[in-house]
């Protein structure tokens, strides 16, 4: 899928300061070596299985299926992974790679805090130093995760610049990387940024679709009709899609955060409202104004509150292989509450965007159709914010 220059169609590339070029070249060379190294893969599989708890369950949501009255719904339970989200898949891979490269320090950006927690976790496990950049606004929205990261031994730096959210955390992590490269690996959390990050992160997350395929084969003896996942940068979505890209009959649906609606300025739906641009090391679609200034995006979900989308998603959109729909705050909150009541599963507010879209399309599909929804993370972290959204002030 990627060509030699890290392009997905016209998207991707390496639009970064010269200071970082040798670092990404070194990373690419190391990755190309270790991805085919049996010892590396054995170690990573052992970490996935013994530490993260893989494979994650593919759960038949019988009550939800009956309630919606249409397609059969399966939930891919990435929320059951250690640290409570799919982020650990990528982080274990990158931390192991960084360690092999002789790096002793991990830095990361985080939005909702899930990637920060996962990075802090891997750093603790592997005895590495860890610094996490998090928008100041998000440190307030996700105070519990800030505490978790500090508990795990990481330093959390609140980022005050710009809109003080995920994009600013990425910018600050990139700035930090340019100032300290020798001993530091930037553990990027999504399928974005300069090549080779979109490829590396996708490869480590592709375990999700590999498992879905095997598990559904075992349970149903066939492929799903649709795979649905939420998309911010797009790591759980590309992980859920990857092994189905070649199966034309499987609909791949990414759910973007529409915030208060794609016809408002308070949205983070990049494919639905953005246009082609160059930012954070990649060419892709971005929410921006007519002069290319990056837009201050909004979503109730800190993890989807990002003005861009990974280059491979931009390419899957261009080719029509995947569809990208917008889901509002309201719809996501409803789905969050619905899944809790119906299945006894509290999904991350990010994942609730995918649940919301499944609730729209499942009733219109025949009963012999199968939908897989990736529950990218657990929703404990969101409970206080959703309570506030419903007008109830609770303390974490």
């Amino acid at each position: 899928m990627t060509n030699v220059n890290g392009r997905f169609g016209i998207h991707g590339g390496q639009y970064i300061p010269e200071t970082l070029m040798n670092a990404v070249i070194e990373l690419e060379e190391a990755y190309n070596h270790y991805k085919n190294d049996p010892e590396f893969n054995r170690e990573l599989t052992r970490l996935f299985n013994e530490y993260a708890g893989r494979p994650s369950r593919l759960y038949y949501a019988e009550k939800m299926t009956k309630d919606l009255g249409g397609a059969k719904i399966y939930l891919k339970r990435e929320d059951l992974n250690h640290t409570g989200a799919h982020k650990i898949n990528n982080v274990l891979g990158q931390a192991l790679l960084a360690k092999k490269m002789g790096k002793t320090r991990l830095i990361a950006e985080t939005g909702a805090g899930q990637h920060g927690v996962a990075t802090a976790t891997a750093a603790a496990l592997m005895g590495m130093e860890c610094v996490v950049f998090m928008g100041e606004e998000d440190t307030i929205r996700q105070a519990l995760n800030v505490y978790r990261m500090r508990l795990l031994g990481a330093e959390v730096i609140p980022v005050k610049s710009g809109t003080a959210t995920l994009k600013d955390a990425v910018s600050e992590a990139m700035r930090e990387w340019t100032s300290r490269i020798d001993d530091t690996h930037y553990c990027l959390g999504s399928v974005m940024g300069p090549h080779p990050f979109p490829t590396i992160v996708r490869d480590f997350q592709s375990v999700i679709s590999k498992e879905i395929k095997e598990q559904l084969q075992e349970k149903e003896g066939r492929l799903p009709d649709a795979v649905i996942a939420c998309v911010g940068g797009g790591s759980n979505a590309i992980g859920s899609f990857y092994h189905f890209i070649g199966d034309g009959g499987v609909r791949l649906i990414g759910c973007e955060a529409a915030g208060r609606g794609i016809d408002t300025f308070e949205t983070a739906a990049t494919i639905n409202t953005g246009r082609l641009g160059i930012f954070h090391g990649m060419k892709s679609y971005f929410c921006q104004d007519e002069y290319g200034q990056i837009a201050p995006v909004y979503s109730i979900s800190a993890g989807l509150d990002y003005p861009g989308i990974g280059p491979e998603h931009a390419y899957l959109h261009d080719t029509g292989r995947a569809e990208y729909v917008a889901v509002t705050d309201d719809e996501a909150v409803n789905a969050f509450e619905y899944l809790a009541r119906t299945e006894g599963i509290i999904p991350a507010i990010e994942s609730a965007h995918a649940v919301a879209h499944a609730m729209k399309i499942a009733p219109e599909m025949d009963k012999d159709r199968i939908i897989v929804i990736t529950i990218s993370g657990r929703g404990d972290k969101d409970c206080a914010a959703i309570a506030r959204y419903r007008g109830e002030d609770i303390h974490e």
Binding site: G13, P17, M21, N22, S171, R175, I181, G277, Q288, G292
Partner: protein
């Protein structure tokens, strides 16, 4: 010879940087004139970007102040038209790839030519991605400036061989901003550059004092100063231009002392 190279023909060059529209475009106009009148050999005009990832806090602040003031690419083109009535010193834009890409490369770069700009510096456009704008730059005679960093090592000669206008040597790791000490072995980097090309090179990032400027101009062909000037603009606001002029004069005197 491009006008940028001419800027280096008369000895060691001093190159000030100003973010357009900080605090407003009238002040920028007066500050750029003050730079030109006080010996600047080449002037970098920053087009603000919402998320300037190569900048430290000082220039980030200038970008945000300018954008909040309502500055746009079109208004900056108008500023340059006004400047060019009096200022003949070569000038280059310094901005981010998306500002050019989003405006339309052809439309942006042809306008640069029309209004009398000489070059373009894009810190997020490394050697591997320069094809994005290079053909259009050549079509309109705009030099696309290459940057070389302390981490460039085996890349220095490759970049230098294809460089045009001048080479921007980044003095230190990290982002823009004043530094008390510059530790990189810049003499070795400049030595590789000189063995690969006759394109002049100037050192930037972290320079604020005349002593640093003299030292850097002694190693390379010139010195670039941004954050220190932005600090003057931040301190004096609309009254800054004479102070900027005075500072530029002291820095130009310092780089002259580096001439053997």
């Amino acid at each position: 010879m491009s006008r940028i190279r001419e800027a280096f023909a008369g000895g060691k060059a001093f190159i000030p940087f100003i973010t357009c529209g900080d605090p407003d475009l009238d002040t920028t106009l007066a500050a750029v004139k003050a730079c030109a009148e006080n010996g600047a050999d080449l002037i970098e005009l920053g087009i603000p970007f919402s998320d300037p990832t190569a900048e430290g806090p000082v220039i980030q602040g200038a970008n945000l102040r300018a954008l909040r003031g309502g500055v746009t690419t079109d208004k900056i083109f108008e500023l340059v038209r006004n400047l060019r009535r009096e200022v003949t010193v070569p000038m280059v834009f310094m901005t981010y790839a998306n500002v050019v890409f989003s405006y339309g490369a052809e439309r942006f770069i042809s306008t640069c030519r029309e209004i009398g700009m000489d070059g373009l510096i894009l810190p997020d456009l490394p050697f591997e991605e320069k094809e994005e704008f290079l053909d259009v730059c050549h079509k309109y005679g705009i030099d696309l400036i290459s940057l070389i960093a302390p981490t460039s090592q085996n890349r220095i000669a490759m970049i230098a061989r294809e460089a045009e206008g001048f080479i921007y040597v980044v003095s230190s790791l990290g982002v823009t901003g004043t530094r008390s000490e510059i530790k990189t072995d810049l003499a070795s980097i400049v030595e590789v550059i000189r063995a690969s090309t006759d394109t002049p090179c100037a050192i930037g990032f972290g320079i604020s004092t005349p002593e640093q400027a003299r030292k850097m101009a002694g190693i390379a062909d010139g010195a670039i100063v941004g954050s220190a000037i932005i600090k003057i603009l931040e301190k004096y606001g609309k009254d800054a231009p004479p102070y900027v002029g005075e500072y530029v004069k002291s820095m130009k005197d310092a780089v002259r002392q580096a001439e053997g």
